[in-house]
Symmetry: C2
Subunit: 550 residues, 2 copies
């Protein structure tokens, strides 16, 4: 009944935070710590065993904090449970080698996927689980509530208000989870200024600000050079536009990363225009500001784009197109990975993506032998969101057998060449992911997209309209019909294919009225990065590695 001890019982996290900040107060000037003292500060604020979110976005990296975390004394800071949406840099894994961190929950590992798998096998890294972005964000508020978050912003003002510019990404979501549960919010900024262009994250959510020794690392992940698009990709793009986008009147959609969808973006103003589809399809987008979408935007195809993150080089172009992008009064975009994933899950007609392996039931994964890549947002957008209740023409068009409680489906389209870049067949008997499950001690096989969620598969051979199929056997035959000379494709029988084509379950280019010889690179609205710059009237400023001219 004694007030004081009662209060303590329910404010342990807050009291601990206060004590830590008091201990660190000699290093702090208000919220600010000197660049050179950040390691010392982290040693005071990060307790052994803490749950730590290190940003680790898809694009933006808290690279300074990440490097400095490597410098803490592992006898003071250890056994950290890291939570990262993206494991993108070697430092992200070095902390495990150094004995600073021991466990990780993540969404995507990309270039580090080989090392992640190896470290799990070696026991250096204990795997929590693999997540889509949205479920990882959700867990920050449920059972992975962070003790400390290490994030990056462009600028801070003297009150610790933050400006993120175009790359807002998931920073506000991460910070919110910590700030309102007595976690500690540490932010690296490129600059400290008197007045911000706008506020993205209020200073009252922030505990510590440090000016980084250099600007945060950011990658141009979504830039695809048109000159690398092949004529097979042009053919697949034409099939997609006519046989999927046009056929079902797909108005809102997500495009992922990759040359297949880049080809589609560049075909809209040419082939799409010839088909008379302008204004009828592909108007509202959930996607990053892809440079290859510039010609479609300039040609009036695009009404709106909401973005997960930004793209290096697109800043001036975005600023000049506020009717299209989500741009603040200051002229820079506010992206928001959490809200764009919500929109990409529930509010768009179609997800179109690609994969490294697909089995005969259209189950697919980008996790292959020895590589624990994770999936990012693909599983979230690449499934039928059964909680959706509003109807659109494309969604309703997926109803094959009308009945009283029938509802539509999201279009989940997989677009793959029958053989991957490594010359291995994409269609396999059994996903490598099944072995990776055992090797990595996962509870379930790391499947990216489950076959029963897939409505369409497009290869250079044709389209399988899987949503029309009503048996596993028929699905397999439909996939075999477009699987070319892969082992699965060799199982295909001509008489089955004839039936499937008659029923509209499979369509070859000729069934869609597309002649293979039409599929020329000259159909692309831009042939090169330089063409994209021209389309943008010089507003798009590609990173050096994409500039062949000076």
């Amino acid at each position: 009944m004694e007030g004081a001890s009662r209060v303590n019982k329910w404010t342990q996290k807050r009291d601990k935070k206060r004590a830590k900040l008091e201990k660190a107060s000699r290093l702090l000037n208000g919220k600010f710590v000197n660049t050179s003292r950040i390691v010392e500060l982290m040693e005071l604020l990060i307790e052994p065993g803490s749950k730590v979110v290190l940003e680790g976005d898809n694009q933006k990296q808290a690279s300074f904090l990440s490097k400095k975390l490597l410098e803490v004394d592992p006898s003071k800071v250890n056994e950290l449970h890291m939570i990262m949406s993206s494991i993108s840099m070697p430092e992200h894994l070095d902390i495990f080698d150094y004995g600073i961190a021991s466990k990780i929950d993540f969404s995507y590992s990309g270039s580090q996927s080989l090392r992640v798998a190896q470290m799990i096998e070696d026991g250096t890294l204990k795997l929590g689980d693999i997540h889509t972005y949205l479920e990882l964000f959700g867990r920050l508020f449920i059972d992975l509530i962070p003790d400390v978050v290490l994030v990056a912003a462009d600028k801070a003002d003297r009150d610790g208000n933050l400006y993120t510019g175009n790359n807002t990404e998931e920073t506000p979501t991460i910070v919110e989870a910590a700030a309102f549960k007595d976690g500690i919010v540490i932010v690296q900024v490129n600059d400290i200024v008197d007045e911000l262009p706008r506020v993205d994250i209020p200073g009252s959510w922030v505990d510590v600000v440090v000016k980084a020794d250099k600007p945060y690392v950011i990658e141009a992940l979504f830039t695809r050079d048109p000159q690398n698009i092949t004529e097979l990709q042009v053919l697949m793009g034409m099939m997609a536009i006519k046989g999927v986008y046009g056929k079902h009147q797909v108005q809102s959609l997500n495009h992922g990363i990759g040359f297949n969808t880049a080809a589609i973006e560049l075909l809209l103003p040419t082939y799409g225009e010839q088909l008379g589809l302008k204004g009828k399809i592909a108007r509202n987008w959930a996607l990053n500001p892809h440079p290859t979408l510039i010609p479609a935007i300039e040609s009036g195809w695009v009404e709106s784009i909401h973005s997960f993150g930004s793209e290096v080089g697109m800043e001036k172009y975005i600023a000049a197109r506020p009717d299209i992008f989500f741009v603040g009064k200051d002229g820079s975009m506010r992206s928001n990975r959490a809200l764009c994933q919500v929109a990409g899950q529930f509010a768009v007609d179609m997800f179109i993506g690609s994969t490294l392996q697909m089995d005969a039931q259209a189950n697919s994964s980008t996790v292959t032998a020895g590589r624990l890549a994770g999936f990012g947002g693909a599983p979230n957008m690449g499934h039928d969101p059964r909680g959706r209740r509003h109807a659109t023409p494309a969604w309703l068009d997926m109803i094959e057998k009308p009945h009283e409680l029938a509802k539509g489906r999201k279009l989940v389209v997989q677009m793959v060449e029958t053989f991957g870049a490594n010359k291995k067949p994409v269609f396999v008997d059994s996903l490598d992911a099944i072995q990776v499950k055992t090797q990595s001690g996962l509870a379930v096989t790391p499947t990216m997209i489950y076959g029963d969620d897939v409505t369409h598969v497009i290869t250079e051979e044709g389209i399988a309209y899987l949503y029309k199929s009503d048996s596993l056997e028929e699905r397999k035959k439909a996939l075999a019909a477009i699987a070319g000379v892969t082992p699965l494709g060799m199982e295909s029988k001509e008489k089955d294919v004839r039936v499937l084509r008659d029923q509209g379950i499979v369509a070859y280019p000729e069934d869609l009225g597309i002649a293979r010889q039409q599929a020329k690179r000259s159909l692309l609205a831009a042939q090169s990065v330089s063409d994209l710059v021209d389309w943008s009237e010089g507003l798009y400023v590609p990173p050096a590695k994409f500039r062949s001219w000076s």
Copy 2:
């Protein structure tokens, strides 16, 4: 090529906004407009045909702006397309009668559901569609991008920064959609102050602030008086705790509104404790701060609660329990409907809810004859999120037939008495929603939760473990076995029931080791609202209507 005309082409929305604000500048002092001039201002800022979000939350209402919108001249402001997560007040519909608005997209209508249905039939109101909260929020960034948003906050400072206190709800999400797409953000506040306790929404996102003539309306939607809990509900609660929560080790969960789940909350510290389940189940929650959860919190059952919104009377209690709730440095909670719906969809083991009608395949709806109620968040949380990839014990426990690509399922539990409050059977041959579809011109039947997503149904007769069933016929028999003396229940055959019980597809109280006579109200940890106040050590301050004393 001329710079000026080029720029205009891509900044139409921004230019229009600027022109409108200039026209209105005589009414504005910075961002502030005098309370008495708001109608005039709205007439200048809201164009005919605009998409307008009127907040319309589940709890908090922009009640001043809503009333004032009724006073605009319909010859100046008309044909508005309203977007409201909740149609809660008569004024929300009066704007249609007055000719100010013509179309609506919404999520939930509750007390206004009869009038909504009537107005659609009369042609006074054109229905866009019914949504879950999350898909409506998603569309704000895709194809329902708002032109104007009318929202409510507690306080503003002189720069227009906003403080929402406990009822943050979806305000930041709505404002973000408008602020970054050149929509106009108009906020009513209870107070204008020099310094805010914290910032919830940065002033740079806000265009107009008006002090309301009285504080915004807010309802105690989630308060259930323990004295109205029946012994049947106690019985069902015991079955739920032992036969579902305990059996599957449900650690993270959502509870909706209602006496069924209130009973469970009050049984955790008594019956749950007897079963030795403390610390093993029901630790991490996505739910509003239910007063009936106070005894479980005080008894140490609860680790964390993230909330969609707040609850009237719980403010002081929440402030004193920051280890449990998401509380800012200022001592008030930050709720967040969008993020809590994300968490409730992806990050929890179980959703448990109730319904007004259920058919023999466990399809259910709260839309009944003549009432277009909508569903709020239930469909979003009450489905298996197929984009989820992380595993928990309860989720894995739903795997009945292990295979290489097997994955878990979310527990979706429906808890109903066989006869509703209106003495009508809950189990019906055909949902009323099917007729409502036709009457309201909906594209699909407004189903709240689809039967194939439901894993468990609990009635006062027993539990049907539908996830164990592998045929529609068997599902129907399992439901019939627990459907009591409803027409469906009368179809149940004793020999079928015996088989189902042997297979564990149906469990009666005795199968769970629960004697019906155990189910006494005395088992509830609190018998009345006054008991809840005592449990809270006086921190919970119930609204007057729940106070029988003083």
